[in-house]
C-alpha cells in the first residue's frame, strides 16, 4: 500500500494514480459550482445517461471491425447519449410542468434501463465477453492502458481550466441569478456551460469511478468543503483538494489490490473526509456547534445567577451554583464573594442602562442589540453611557 501511495509500483500504476488524482481534483472543482448552483442531482441524470451511448459505441466499433474497447471511442459514445439525456431533462423541465427532480428521475431510470438491456445483449455476443464493459459501472483501473491514463488526466485538466475560466459569472449566477442577468451575464448560457463541464468530467471519469458513483465525486467533496469556509473561492479550492486526495488514495489502493473496484474506494475516501469535516470543522462542524452552545449556556447561567445575587434572590439551580463557584463568584454556602458582588452590581447597572436606552430618543433603536448577554459597553461609546447615566440620575445610586 505504501508503495502505491508513493508511486513505487511502476510507471504505469503511477500514471493511473496521477490520472485519478487529476480527475478527483477537477471533479471537486466542477462539483463545487454545481453544488452552489443547487443542481447537484442533474449530474446523476447525466452519468446514468452515458450507458446506452457507451454500449452502442462498443457495438459500432466492433461492427466496423475495430477493437471495441478503445477508450476514446467509448467515451465519445457515452458523451453523445449523456448529451441527449441532458437535453431531454432540460426539455422536460422547460416545456412541461414537470419539476426538475421528476425529470431527472425519469431520464436517469429510462436511460440506465436501456443501457443495461444493451449491455446484456452485448455480453451474449462473442466479442462482448471480454469487453469488460461492466467495469464502467463501478470503475476499474486494473489493466488500464498508459494512453487511457493520459487521456483521463488531460481531459480532467481541460475541464478544470474551463471551470476556473468561468468562475466569476458562475458564482454570481449561483448567488443571485436575477442580479447576474442585470449585469449582462447570460445565465442560461453559463448554466448550460456548467452542465457541459459536468458532462465532461462524468465521461472522463467513467473508467476510473464508474457511472453509478461518479456523482459522488461531484457532490461529496463540495459538501465536505462547505463546512470549512464561508468563502466561495475557498470552498471550490478545498473541494478540489478533497476530490484530488480521494482520487489519489482510491487509485493507489486499487493498484495494490486489483480486485478492489476503484470507484467505491474513492467514494469511501471522500466520505471519510466528509465525516471528518462534519465533526471537526470549526464554525459549521458539529463539535464546534456543540461547544458554542455549551459556552452560551454557561454565559446565560452565570449572568442570571449574578443578577439573582445582585437582587438578593436565592439560586436554586445546581448548575448555576456550580458555575458561579467555579468562577470564584460565590462561596460554597451561597454567599457571593467580593468579586461576585462587584460583578453582580455592574451587571445590574448594565440592566438599568439598557432600560434607560429603550426610553432614549436617539438610542432606542439600539435596543435590538439587547439580547441579555451583550454588555452595554460593546454597543455604546463611553460618552453615550455617561449621558444615559446622567438620565438614570439618583435611581442608579443603590
Amino acid at each position: 500500500m505504501l508503495d502505491a501511495l508513493t508511486f513505487q509500483l511502476g510507471y504505469n500504476a503511477a500514471l493511473v494514480t496521477l490520472g485519478a488524482t487529476m480527475l478527483g481534483f477537477a471533479a471537486g472543482a466542477v462539483g463545487a459550482f454545481l453544488y452552489l448552483r443547487k443542481r447537484a442531482l442533474v449530474s446523476d441524470a447525466i452519468s446514468h445517461a452515458t450507458l446506452p451511448g457507451l454500449v452502442l459505441a462498443f457495438i459500432g466499433m466492433v461492427a466496423l471491425g475495430g477493437d471495441g474497447r478503445a477508450l476514446g471511442g467509448l467515451l465519445l459514445g457515452s458523451a453523445g447519449s449523456a448529451l441527449v439525456g441532458l437535453w431531454v431533462t432540460n426539455w422536460l423541465t422547460r416545456t412541461t410542468r414537470l419539476s426538475e427532480d421528476a425529470a431527472i428521475g425519469a431520464v436517469l431510470s429510462v436511460f440506465f434501463g436501456f443501457g443495461i438491456v444493451l449491455l446484456t445483449v452485448v455480453q451474449n455476443m462473442s466479442a462482448g465477453r471480454q469487453a469488460g464493459l461492466e467495469g464502467f459501472l463501478l470503475g476499474s483501473t486494473a489493466g488500464m492502458l498508459r494512453s487511457d491514463a493520459i487521456l483521463i488526466a488531460v481531459g480532467s485538466l481541460v475541464v478544470l481550466l474551463a471551470t476556473l475560466y468561468m468562475r466569476r459569472p458562475l458564482l454570481i449566477t449561483a448567488f443571485d441569478p436575477g442580479y447576474a442577468a442585470v449585469r449582462g451575464i447570460n445565465t442560461h448560457r453559463f448554466d448550460m456551460a456548467l452542465m457541459v463541464l459536468v458532462l465532461g468530467i462524468t465521461v472522463v471519469g467513467l473508467k476510473v469511478v464508474g457511472l453509478i458513483l461518479i456523482v459522488a465525486m461531484l457532490i461529496i467533496p463540495p459538501v465536505a468543503a462547505r463546512f470549512w469556509s464561508e468563502n466561495a473561492v475557498k470552498v471550490v479550492g478545498l473541494s478540489a483538494l478533497f476530490g484530488g486526495l480521494s482520487g489519489y488514495i482510491g487509485a493507489a489502493a486499487s493498484a495494490t489490490a486489483p480486485a478492489l473496484p476503484t470507484g467505491p474506494i474513492i467514494v469511501l475516501t471522500s466520505f471519510a473526509l466528509f465525516v471528518l469535516s462534519l465533526l471537526l470543522a470549526p464554525g459549521r462542524g458539529l463539535l464546534a456547534m456543540a461547544l458554542r452552545h455549551r459556552r452560551l449556556q454557561k454565559q446565560v447561567h452565570i449572568r442570571q445567577g449574578l443578577l439573582a445575587l445582585a437582587r438578593n434572590q436565592a439560586i436554586y439551580e445546581g448548575f448555576t451554583r456550580r458555575l458561579l463557584r467555579r468562577a470564584g463568584m460565590m462561596q460554597a454556602d451561597g454567599v457571593p464573594t467580593l468579586e461576585g458582588r462587584k460583578e453582580a452590581s455592574q451587571l445590574l447597572h448594565d440592566e438599568a442602562l439598557w432600560q434607560e436606552l429603550r426610553r432614549s430618543q436617539t438610542l432606542s433603536e439600539l435596543a435590538i442589540r439587547d439580547d441579555g448577554l451583550t454588555r452595554i459597553a460593546e454597543v455604546l461609546t463611553a460618552d453615550q453611557i455617561a449621558a444615559l447615566d446622567a438620565q438614570l440620575g439618583p435611581k442608579a445610586v443603590s
Binding site: 459569472p169 449561483a174 448567488f175 443571485d176 449585469r183 475557498k234
Partner: protein, 263 residues
Amino acid sequence: MSLQVAPTGPADQDGVDTAPLALRGLTVAYGAEPVVFSVDMTVAPGAMTAIIGPNGAGKSTLLKASLGIVTPLAGQITYWGDGLARNRNRVAYVPQRASVDWDFPTQVLDVVLMGLYAELGLLRRVRPQHIARAMACLTRVGMQDFADRQIGQLSGGQQQRVFLARALAQHADLFLLDEPFAGVDAATEEAIITVLKSLKDEGKTVVAVHHDLSTVDTYFDNVFLINRRRLGEGPVSEAFTPDALQAAYGGRLSDGLIAAQTG
C-alpha cells in the same frame, strides 16, 4: 408583436432620448393576466423618483421588466434613448432582499466586489485598488466593520446596505432600487436615504419602489403612481395628490389617511 391600445396618459416621445429610463406601452403578464398594462414612464434625470402603488400593483414587476429580468409582452424600454445592453454598466440595481440565497458561502466584501464585475471580467485579478473601492462603498453605507462577515449573519437592514454598496461600487448613473426600505430598521433607513440623496447631489438618477406614503414628500422629488396602469407621474407637489392616490389605491386607503399623507 405590438399592441395597439388607447394611451393611458400623455404618451408622446418627449424626453425619451435623454431620459435615463423611458418606458412606452410596457405590458407584462404572469400567465394570462397582465400585471402591468400599457405603461408609459419617463424618468427625470438627476432626480429621485418613487414608484408607488398598492400591493400587487406591479411596482416590482415594472422594475424587473425594465431590467429584462422578466420578459415583457409588449412595449419599448430605453435607457438614455438606447437599449439596456449598451448601458448595462451605467445602470445599478438593488434587488429585493428575498431574492438571494442567504446561506451562500460569500462574505460582505465579495458581494460588493460583484459590483465591479464589468471591470474585472472573467480573468483580471482583484487588485488592492478594487478592494479599496469596495471598502469605500461599504464605508459610505456604514458597513465597513462587517467586510468579512458571511452575508447571512447580518440583519435585514445591514444586508440591504451591503446591496446598496454593491450598486455604488459599479459607479453607475442610474440606480434602480426595489423596496429599499422594506423591513429595515430606522438606522438603515436613515443611512440609505442619506446615500441616495448624496447620489442625487452628484447628479445621479434614483428610482425606488416605495411603499411608505408618509415619507414620499421628504425623500423624493417625483412620484410615479401605478396600479397595473399608469395613474400619475410628476413632481411630488403636483402628482402626489389625494385624487391620484384615491385612483391608485381605491378603497384601500381611507380619505382621512390620504389627507394626512399629503397634508
